[in-house]
């Protein structure tokens, strides 16, 4: 039903961009868009399922390959193993080194857990300072905090390495998590500040009148409210540190200190030509913690990503 003729006066809420002559209309794209609209849900679902299937296929192929005997990986791209076996997992776990993946998993968690805890504590403290206090030079400090997000890490790498060498920290886990105690990842602080600012400080003021000091306010009033943001920070840091490769590559030299990321890289260099199923099995296990965390807590990831951007 078209009650209003196309010549009806333009409504005042129309954005200025509607009359922007710069955006010309490529006819092919127009037809494509119309096609997409007209074919409706069927086409949209087909597009979504088709692309989604292609995208997830490498992951499914990895899991399937981990369950196949090695020769079967090369004899077909199907996902159902003809002769399913756990041999890849058993042999892969043993590795060709003197250590097993038990060591590599433990090492990974020895890095990741302190890193997550320290990041959360330092980010919350610093974010509270930025969001609720009038500080001298506040704009400058906060500006620098944002700038650290855009700063390429390679420009810091060499002096950081020399510094940690000076500290005698090479081949220990310290260089990998100690910087996190100092809120060095501006992105996380920024995320929490954004979240804190979306709440009016009235509750906190009431607590102050009741005689709470700022630390009590933070712990009893602020932290419960900003919990979703705190969880997002913890999850992102968990994921990113699980994935971290360059840090361990630089600082850890003995195989006994290797986390999973280095162990996997080592395993393809050693077993390249032969035991694909072992490597695929270990890759599957390496991704498992992240996968589980992601499936159980995906809304925090999605909130976290959008918190840092759209609301900012």
């Amino acid at each position: 039903m078209r009650a209003v003729a196309p010549s009806a006066p333009v409504r005042p809420s129309t954005p200025a961009a509607l009359s922007n002559p710069a955006s010309l209309r490529p006819p092919a794209l127009g037809q494509f868009a119309r096609l997409l609209m007209n074919l409706g849900p069927t086409l949209r679902y087909s597009v979504l399922i088709g692309i989604g299937f292609l995208m997830l296929y490498p992951l499914l192929w990895m899991v399937a390959g981990a369950l196949k005997p090695n020769h079967e990986i090369f004899s077909g791209i199907g996902l159902i193993p003809q002769a399913p076996t756990l041999e890849g997992f058993a042999k892969g776990w043993q590795t060709s080194t003197e250590y097993t993946f038990t060591t590599y998993f433990l090492n990974t968690f020895k890095i990741v857990l302190p890193k997550v805890v320290l990041t959360v504590i330092s980010s919350v403290l610093v974010a509270f300072g930025f969001a609720r206090f009038h500080l001298p030079g506040r704009r400058l400090w906060f500006g620098l905090l944002i700038a650290t997000v855009l700063l390429p890490k390679s420009v810091l790498l060499i002096p950081q390495y020399l510094m940690f060498r000076e500290f005698g920290w090479l081949d220990t886990f310290l260089p990998l998590y100690v910087p996190s105690a100092f809120a060095t990842e501006g992105f996380f602080v920024f995320m929490i500040v954004q979240f804190m600012r979306s709440f009016p400080p009235e509750m906190e003021e009431a607590a102050v009148i009741d005689g709470c000091n700022s630390l009590q306010v933070l712990w009893h009033v602020v932290v419960p409210v900003i919990m979703p943001a705190v969880i997002s920070v913890a999850l992102f840091q968990f994921m990113w540190s699980m994935n971290d490769f360059l840090g361990p590559l630089l600082y850890l030299s003995s195989v006994g200190n290797y986390p999973i990321s280095l162990a996997l890289k080592m395993s393809i260099d050693v077993t390249e030509a032969t035991a694909w199923n072992e490597v695929l099995a270990m890759s599957t296990l390496a991704l498992l913690p992240s996968l589980l965390v992601f499936f159980f807590a995906q809304r925090y990831f999605i909130e976290g990503v959008t918190l840092g951007s759209v609301k900012g």
């Binding site: 192929w61 009038h134 001298p136 810091l156 002096p159 990321s261 991704l287």
Partner: protein, 297 residues
């Protein structure tokens, strides 16, 4: 809200210490190192000032020029490809479809896992001579491609690996799309705008802040790509995937030339800085913020 400045400074002090110790000091130290001849095994005091020699050497270095060129090509293809994909899927997901959460999860998954070495390892197998892609090509009756062994295709595998991870940009786009007020679409419909016109004149302009954000984040990230070339291709063949971060790493920790590596890292920093600065200045010509709309007559 609190007035006690000393307490406030105490809260932000971890950041201020970290900023000085782990960010500003290394940042300036690498600038200083870039003007010296300094080997990995040297003590601090053994750094020898050589002026701008590292920079002159850099611009004359064929490997550096090739690496810079490869990096630019990589970023110029990966970032737009990723953004277009992310926007397209977000746009399709934004129709009120059933099961949107399921699809959003499926598309987001690769970008959550994709940074890991496990994925890079799998990627190497996917594109290997007898890997998934070549088996599929054979099955479909095509010839096989030596993806990782040919200089012309090796970079493609890295580009595809990172484009595959368009999920986080997509989630941001989707949130942006859902934030566009419905009354604008109704207004456009009343004015007789077709789907393409609605997209190009309503959706896209209102989405420009999100496009801008995604562009900056993805570009900065793409310029720092290390894991992909290091694990999947090792920088080869014939340095065809030798991106600048990989070159910095190898100059420093394989050839032990920290002065030269620092010079390259500063070049990369300035390059990213210039591109970010251009993007920020260009904002007022193409990025459309909501407050502009409220101010418009």
């Amino acid at each position: 809200m609190y007035t006690n400045r000393a307490v406030g400074m105490a809260y932000v002090s971890p950041f201020l210490i970290g900023l000085a110790l782990f960010l500003l000091f290394p940042f300036l130290a690498s600038l200083g190192l870039s003007f010296t001849d300094y080997r990995l095994q040297d003590r601090w005091s053994e750094a020898r000032f050589i002026g701008a020699d590292n920079y002159t050497q850099m611009f004359a270095d064929h490997t550096f020029r090739k690496s810079l060129w490869t990096t630019l090509i990589y970023v110029l293809i990966t970032v737009p490809l990723k953004l277009v994909f992310a926007l397209f899927i977000a746009f399709v997901l934004n129709f009120k479809l059933r099961g949107i959460n399921f699809f959003r999860t499926a598309y987001y998954l690769p970008s959550i896992l994709g940074g890991s070495v496990a994925i890079a390892v799998v990627w190497r197998y996917v594109y290997a001579g007898d890997g998934l892609i070549n088996q599929a090509l054979t099955l479909a009756g095509f010839g096989t491609v030596n993806w990782l062994g040919e200089p012309s295709t090796a970079l493609v595998t890295i580009i595809l690996l990172r484009t595959w991870q368009f999920g986080s940009a997509m989630v941001v786009f989707l949130a942006g799309l859902q934030g566009i007020p419905q009354d604008l679409y109704e207004a456009a419909k009343l004015d007789g705008a077709g789907p393409w016109r609605t997209f190009s004149r309503v959706t896209l302009p209102l989405l420009t802040p999100v496009v801008f954000f995604n562009f900056i984040m993805q570009s900065v990230q793409a310029f720092q790509e290390f894991n992909g070339p290091y694990v999947v291709t090792g920088g080869g063949p014939l340095k065809s995937t030798y991106l600048l971060p990989l070159m910095i790493y190898e100059e420093a920790f394989k050839y032990f030339d920290l002065g030269y590596a620092s010079a390259i890292s500063w070049f990369l920093f300035v390059l990213i800085g210039v591109i970010t600065a251009i993007a920020f200045t260009s904002q007022r010509y193409w990025v459309f913020y909501a407050q502009d709309r409220e101010r418009a007559p």
